[in-house]
């Protein structure tokens, strides 16, 4: 069994016939094809999954992002950008992200900002080499 199949099988064992395995497969196929992709967000994954446009699969998408960014697969890395008032993105270091998420600290001003989470872009950075390895492995005939 290829590593990709093994990964999808693990999702199926936990979530049965739910959409999680399909979401994961669609996302990884997309990332293998468009390996310049740098920001994997919930809206992006929605666009890759028929029927997900209005948010019906958001929980499945969150589960898949959680799994693929986990220590096992390690195919995605959680990252954050702060989008300022001029729509300019500022990449956050881990400690800045924690301060913003946990303590509502605005990374630019250093002040408490109750609305900071709404201006943080939560995205996942694909680990391209690992994804390439995973998706280039030959798969047995389905």
């Amino acid at each position: 069994m290829s590593q990709l199949d093994s990964l999808l099988q693990q999702l199926r064992r936990v979530y049965g016939d739910g959409p999680e395995a399909v979401v994961a497969s669609n996302l990884l196929t997309f990332l293998a094809r468009f390996d310049g992709t740098r920001h994997v967000t919930v809206p992006l994954v929605r666009r890759l999954c028929p029927g997900a446009e209005a948010g019906q699969m958001d929980h499945a998408i969150a589960r898949v992002l959680q799994y693929l960014s986990g220590d096992g697969p390690a195919l995605l890395k959680l990252s954050f950008e702060y989008i300022d008032a001029d729509d300019v993105p500022h990449t956050l270091e881990d400690d800045e992200a924690r301060a913003a998420i946990d303590h509502r600290i605005n990374p630019l001003s250093g002040e408490v900002d109750e609305h900071v989470r709404a201006r943080l872009l939560a995205y996942f950075d694909p680990q391209t080499d690992r994804i390439r390895l995973l998706t280039s492995e030959p798969r047995p005939a389905q």
């Binding site: 929980h59 969150a62 799994y67 986990g70 998420i101």
Partner: protein, 225 residues
């Protein structure tokens, strides 16, 4: 303009609303062994509760098959979880790699009688080498798969038997599991450090006594055994 669904506000609300993803941020931001252990125990309990929701699906499984479900559930939560060899044949290895590597070892046993758990406990406490935590203690777990009735009574019998297995073993109540769990502590033989073991009973007994259950052959055979 950023899509609202791409914001951290939206994403974290989404995570919070699903028991499977609720602890995502806690796992991502673990910085000490104590934090790792705290969230792992919450997640391990969630995995056990999930098994218990459908005990009929796990009735005829082997120890390894049931443990594999726990491995799968912890893996999709984001842990590096496996059934693998660490200094022997430990059943469950759970890891998170952050600024440092955090690792927890668990032994899983079918709880036929206290003798089964005795062997599992001795394997955990004398064969394997748990990681030394920031609190200067070792931590591990013993998961007991119980397919007999009256889990409270079964766990009580094990809890009372354990001090006869290891001299000087202290027993504490377990908040997470109430009367079907507890924590033991004793001096680890090799290191001399305290080894705290979380004893968790997974209640997998299933014997329906409604009309359908009374007449079904598989349940009749089970009762006769």
């Amino acid at each position: 303009m950023m899509d609202n669904a791409a914001s951290a506000k939206f994403f974290f609300a989404l995570l919070e609303a699903d028991p499977d993803t609720r602890h995502f941020w806690r796992r991502k931001t673990v910085s000490t062994y104590s934090e790792f252990l705290d969230v792992l125990k919450d997640d391990l309990l969630a995995a056990v509760l999930r098994l218990e929701r459908n005990p009929q699906l796990h009735w005829e499984e082997s120890e390894d098959e049931t443990t594999m479900h726990i491995v799968d559930m912890l893996s999709v939560m984001g842990y590096g979880a496996s059934q693998s060899n660490v200094g022997g044949n430990v059943d469950l290895v759970v890891e998170l790699q952050r600024q440092q590597r955090f690792m927890w070892l668990g032994e899983a046993k079918k709880f036929g009688d206290v003798g089964d758990l005795r062997e599992g406990f001795l394997q955990l406490s004398t064969r394997y080498r748990p990681q030394i935590a920031d609190d200067g203690q070792l931590h591990g777990g013993l998961i007991a798969y119980l397919r007999r009735p009256n889990a409270v009574k079964c766990v009580k019998s094990w809890r009372e038997h354990l001090p006869t297995v290891i001299a000087g073993c202290a027993i504490e109540d377990c908040e997470r599991r109430g009367a079907i769990g507890f924590v033991s502590s004793h001096a680890h033989e090799s290191t001399g450090l305290p080894l705290r073991v979380w004893h968790v009973c997974a209640v997998l007994h299933h014997d329906p006594l409604d009309a359908s259950g009374r007449s079904a052959q598989k349940y009749q055979e089970r009762r006769a055994a």
